[in-house]
């Protein structure tokens, strides 16, 4: 509705909002890649700092147990000390067999961490490869890989582990690698699913089409453009799974199908301590605490990474 009302013509003084050159570039800030950006956010988050320090400490313990204890874990196990209270040089007391609890925890770190790290590594290799192929190419490749994953996904961990570890080859070679193998066989489908979803999300992006029309091959665009952009959820899941696998190893060892008793691990220690729960629950408590703290650190790290890598929050 046009009216005859007088409308004043207002013009702001030019000095008030100086005109910028249209679309000028800010050049005063340092360039920022996704990783640099994530790092900038992470280093200010207490959640990340605490978990990173904890994980660094755990890794050092695993690599150099000798730095933290001078007591050999299995020497001088004297039944006289069975379920003994803390004594000088033995801060956490003695196990049922009369071994030093503290020393066993320190030396058990290695096996637990190795199982976690290697399981995640192989799960990444298998899960990411299959998931990426399924998501990127779709069609029958997707169908076959998805069904294959479903088969393993349907098996509960304990049941699956019981079955797999009863295979003759597994029974004869029990050790870190057989546990890793069990966990990888049962753990890859989840990684494949996450990767598949992330890849599907990215594969239709304009920059992938742009790369294809530049002459980049399909596989080339998958490796160079799609995967790097799908990496964030994969990294987050991998970090969290590391914790989960360490728990799984302890669970399997606890029910006797994980690491053999000759290898020191937190799971074995927890299993061995169950007979002394009533007399000396501390023996159970200490390895369980080591386990929880480690797992918590990894899950916290995963949480912090997820926040930092969230593309939606990415801007100056």
């Amino acid at each position: 509705m046009k009216t005859n009302r007088e409308i004043e013509h207002f013009v702001a003084p030019v000095e008030e909002t100086p005109l910028l050159a249209t679309d000028s570039l800010k050049t005063d800030q340092a360039p920022l890649s996704l990783w640099a950006d994530a790092w900038r956010k992470l280093r200010r988050r207490p959640l990340f700092i605490i978990s990173a320090v904890m994980i660094a400490l755990i890794i050092i313990v695993a690599l150099f147990p000798g730095l933290f204890t001078h007591v050999a874990p299995n020497d001088n196990c004297q039944l006289a000390n069975s379920d003994g209270a803390p004594a000088a040089g033995h801060p956490l007391g003695f196990t049922f067999q009369g071994c030093d609890v503290y020393s066993r925890i320190i030396h058990g770190t290695q096996a637990s961490l190795m199982v976690g790290v290697f399981s995640v590594l192989f799960v990444l290799i298998i899960g990411v490869t299959l998931g990426a192929l399924a998501g990127f190419y779709g069609g029958w490749i997707d169908a076959v890989i998805a069904r294959l994953g479903d088969i393993f996904f349907a098996l509960p961990l304990i049941l699956g582990a019981l079955v797999v570890s009863q295979l003759p080859f597994m029974r004869e070679n029990r050790g870190v690698w057989t546990v890793v193998m069990v966990l990888v066989v049962l753990g890859w489908p989840q990684m494949a699913r996450i990767t598949r979803g992330a890849v599907i999300e990215v594969r239709n992006a304009d920059f992938v089409t742009a790369a294809r029309s530049l002459g980049v091959s399909r596989l080339g665009s998958l490796i160079r453009h799609v995967l790097p952009n799908a990496l964030a959820p994969i990294i987050v899941l991998a970090t969290m799974e590391l914790g989960v696998f360490i728990v799984a190893e302890a669970t399997l060892s606890f029910i006797g199908i994980g690491l053999p008793g000759s290898i020191m691990s937190w799971g074995n220690d927890i299993a061995a301590a169950k007979s002394s729960v009533r007399t000396n629950p501390a023996i159970l408590l200490y390895p369980a605490m080591a386990l929880s703290v480690t797992v918590l650190s990894f899950i916290m790290l995963g949480d912090a990474l997820r926040d930092a890598l969230d593309p939606k929050s990415r801007q100056r």
């Binding site: 909002t17 249209t22 679309d23 050049t27 360039p31 920022l32 890649s33 304009d206 453009h225």
Partner: protein
Amino acid sequence: MTTSDVIISEADRADKPLLEIRDLAISFQTGSGEVQAVRNAHLTIMPGETVAIVGESGSGKSTTALAAIGLLPGNGRVSGGQILLDGEDISQAPEKRMIELRGNTIGMVPQDPMSNLNPVWKIGYQVKETLRANGRPCGPADVAKVLAQAGLPDAERRAKQYPHEFSGGMRQRALIAIGLSCQPRLLIADEPTSALDVTVQRQILDHLEQMTSELGTSVLLITHDLGLAAERADKVVVMYRGNVVEAGPSLELLQNPQHPYTQRLVASAPSLASRRIQVAKELGVESDELLAPGTSPGGAVVVKPTMTEDVLQIQNLRKVFKLRSGFGKSTDFTAVDDVSFSVKRGTTTAIVGESGSGKSTVAQMVLNLLQPTSGKIVFDGVDTSTLNNKEIFAFRRRVQPIFQDPYGSLDPMYNIFRTIEEPLRTHKIGDKASREKKVRELLDQVALPQSTMQRYPNELSGGQRQRVAIARALALDPEVIICDEAVSALDVLVQAQVLNLLAELQSRLGLTYLFITHDLAVVRQIADHVCVMEKGKLVETGSTDDVFDAPQRDYTKALLNAIPGARLMLPPEVA
């Protein structure tokens, strides 16, 4: 006696502003401290008046409007000034008072019709919800009436449908119905039609105008399109970087812009410009001669020898998609139907059409990313469907795309150097040093500083990203560039800049453009030839001047008529 009293009081009321914003300041709490989004904004809306706020993205236009209805995002607050509604300051009003006002006194039509209706509720229920919240009768008949008033045919049946059964235009009508259902005295329309096709946009705005003038509703229209604002509003308020830089009667503002920013805006608004962008300096032609192409000896010398050759010939192109419909059944959907045209070397051909017209499918097929169902695409004398892998690789060097979404077409993990270098690396051109030199040259060509090389796409604005995309497309020295809505997502000023850049590159490098767009105003600025598509078919082709001056088909006429601002007569020196 009593009647004259009433007349006086009504006239009195009509003279007082309905909404007055005084020295409004709005700030947002962000991770890096408090940011001022709006400063010293002021604006007055009289009863029954339509006022438009115009500005580019980030200018604070939507923020100002949201403050008026008390819907600022959680981290924003009014940090100064007043918002007077009928003399009552509502800038710090409690939530309870705002709830009373919303719907009844101030209505709102939000921007995106696709996401602003709740997909799990029927349209009728969503209208009813509004009516009930404002204590109005909300029976099925009332709902149908409201919807019918907004121009929805067969309203009673439509009210029982879900949003996904509605087209974009119908959804926007439903939203307008909701916004006006309680007959508010002020309607805030935030880019109500920017997601719609031009012809639909026109219908909706016509209808909105008619409804609000019947009801005597004041409208606060927020838009980025100066032409649209001038056509629809009594008064235009121009915002720039959070400040109101100019306000005044719409026509006067266009004809006589005072503030340098408004002048810039008027000069580059595509819907107002009538003439093709020419790079006069490069060609050394006087601007008079530009108006009569072909007669100018200076310009013709450069282009003429190649002008005659058809670099692209599209013959009877068809593309049929199989749509899945239930178990194993499929129906055919013909996206592109018997399309033929040719593109001359060194010229710009625009394919125009509304969404769903098949124009992007044509582009995909020309780029050899999609196989045609039948028909031929002949590039430089060779049928592109006969190419083997190696030849396609070579073909890709010569035909390059620029995509619509400058935020999506650059890999966020690659810095600008790697992005522009990628085509060179893929085609194994030169060594590391020569590639870097080429990237620097390309950045110069698209007028970006060389320091951009180290940056990542998320640090650049939309226009800058589009320049990077252009630089990447130019890296292989292609002959043909397919621009798929290449400037549609950009602000007007940036759009003008990018169009100028494209025109300049064309005259310098002899490029051929195939320009896919829905925006006829842009076509007029850049294209030599136009192909108008409707529902997969080519309805009209011709030189831009012919099509614009004497459109043959009704559809083309409707499209041309729907350009906002097209009906405004401006003195040529402004346009």
